[in-house]
């Protein structure tokens, strides 16, 4: 059964708070793990376009309120919508599908954020830094996504 929307919003808020506080010192060559991107892909694969898109919109707005000046909301919405297009309920538990989707979503989100930063905030010449961090964020997100799915499976087995 797909999770309820308000429960997903609560998890997203928790993920954003953890990212902006506890996970802040943990970096891999300047890149931070994005729990929200992983959650959006997870939601997209299980719940489809509408839920993942709406979750992306809400969580992006929350991220921008906490620091981002408007560069996150479009990126998270597009990420949620694209993850929702995959909506492969049957394969949603497949580790390779989930991890690859997280990788693609990280790149997509990074590119949209980069474009908005360049066009709207006038930050010029940051492609080198953005692409460098994006590669490492991709690695981090895929690793955390794989770990999360394995933990979810183990928890499922224990419950059974």
């Amino acid at each position: 059964m797909p999770p309820r929307f308000w429960a997903l919003v609560l998890v997203a808020v928790g993920a954003i708070i953890v990212q902006s506080t506890l996970l802040q010192p943990l970096t891999l060559r300047g890149a931070h793990v994005s729990l929200l991107t992983i959650l959006l892909v997870w939601t997209g694969l299980r719940c489809g376009v509408t839920t993942a898109g709406a979750l992306g919109l809400l969580s992006g707005a929350i991220e921008d309120a906490l620091g981002g000046a408007g560069v996150n909301v479009l990126a998270t919405t597009v990420t949620g919508l694209c993850a929702g297009l995959l909506n492969v309920r049957f394969f949603a538990d497949s580790l390779p599908v989930f991890v690859s989707a997280v990788g693609f979503a990280t790149v997509l989100r990074g590119l949209v954020t980069y474009m908005v930063s360049e066009l709207a905030l006038g930050i010029r010449g940051s492609f080198h830094r953005a692409s460098h961090e994006l590669v490492w964020q991709c690695v981090l997100n895929c690793a955390v996504a794989a770990l999360a799915l394995i933990i979810e499976r183990i928890a499922g087995h224990v419950r059974k």
Partner: protein
């Protein structure tokens, strides 16, 4: 079957387009508010709920980290205690000498009639969070306009300049760090009094528009120049390397910030 597929495709397309339009509108509202140095109403609501949670979480994390450090060091506490007692005796002796020096210093100051610099009025604040995705270099502090923090107020810590306040809520404020690429600070090299603009490069600072005839050396101290926002003389950092090309109008320098932005816990906000 085809009709059902087409219905779903249309519905998906409608959701897709609607959500992108809504997200674009939200983005434009946020960007416009950021340009004005203001906060939109939804932002105010969201921060008023989430910032206290961030604050509590940061404090809890600090307390837990301290406890863990204490527990891991329990084995060495006895030897540490003995070493500290010896240190206290040494410090007590040197403290007496320092008292004498301090008294002498006061007398000399009076004799030379040195004008005391007017101290900046500041508000102490704690850092409660960073930008969640690192898309901008900014922090959230636990003081807002009700505490006297205002838009464009300068933020410092013990080592030097941190940044300036972008927008304020009643009990919190966002601070743009000087390493953010949108931050531009009027700056000069303390030794040569040469002006330039210190711009963030995510991890470091680049001091631009330094005249070609100026001799810039690694290790030179960069401080703020008096501007609309910044008071004069606050340390920004030290020059790490100089970028000088013969065919360019200006030279620039890579500056290592004086402040450790990854370990910021407490800051001072200058009252405007």
């Amino acid at each position: 079957m085809v009709a059902i597929a087409s219905f779903w495709d249309e519905r998906k397309l409608l959701v897709f387009v609607t959500l992108i339009i809504v997200a674009s509108i939200v983005m434009l509202v946020e960007l416009e508010a950021a340009r004005r140095g203001d906060r939109s109403l939804p932002d105010q609501l969201i921060t008023s709920v989430i910032v206290p949670v961030e604050d509590a979480l940061t404090q809890t994390e600090g307390a837990v980290a301290t406890e863990v450090r204490t527990l891991t060091r329990a084995g060495t506490l006895a030897s540490d205690n003995a070493a500290l007692q010896r240190k206290v005796q040494e410090l007590a002796a040197s403290n007496e000498r320092l008292k004498e020096h301090a008294a002498e210093n006061v007398r000399l100051r009076r004799m030379l009639a040195l004008a005391q610099t007017v101290p900046l009025q500041t508000i102490a604040a704690s850092v409660v969070g960073y930008a969640p995705e690192g898309t901008r270099r900014e922090i959230t502090i636990d003081r807002g306009w009700r505490d006297g923090v205002s838009h464009d107020a300068v933020v410092l810590d013990g080592d030097g300049l941190v940044g300036h306040v972008m927008d304020t809520g009643p009990h919190d404020a966002h601070v743009l760090l000087i390493i953010d690429p949108t931050s531009n600070v009027p700056a000069f090299l303390r030794d040569t009094r040469t002006w330039g603009i210190a711009t963030g490069t995510w991890q470091h600072i680049r001091m631009k528009y330094i005249g070609q005839d100026v001799k810039v050396r690694a290790g030179d101290t960069v401080v703020t120049g008096k501007g609309e926002i910044y008071p004069e003389g606050i340390v920004i950092g030290t020059v790490r390397e100089v970028d000088r090309k013969d065919n360019a109008l200006y030279q620039s320098a890579v500056v290592t910030p004086a402040v450790d932005f990854d370990g910021l816990l407490h800051v001072l906000v200058v009252r405007r």
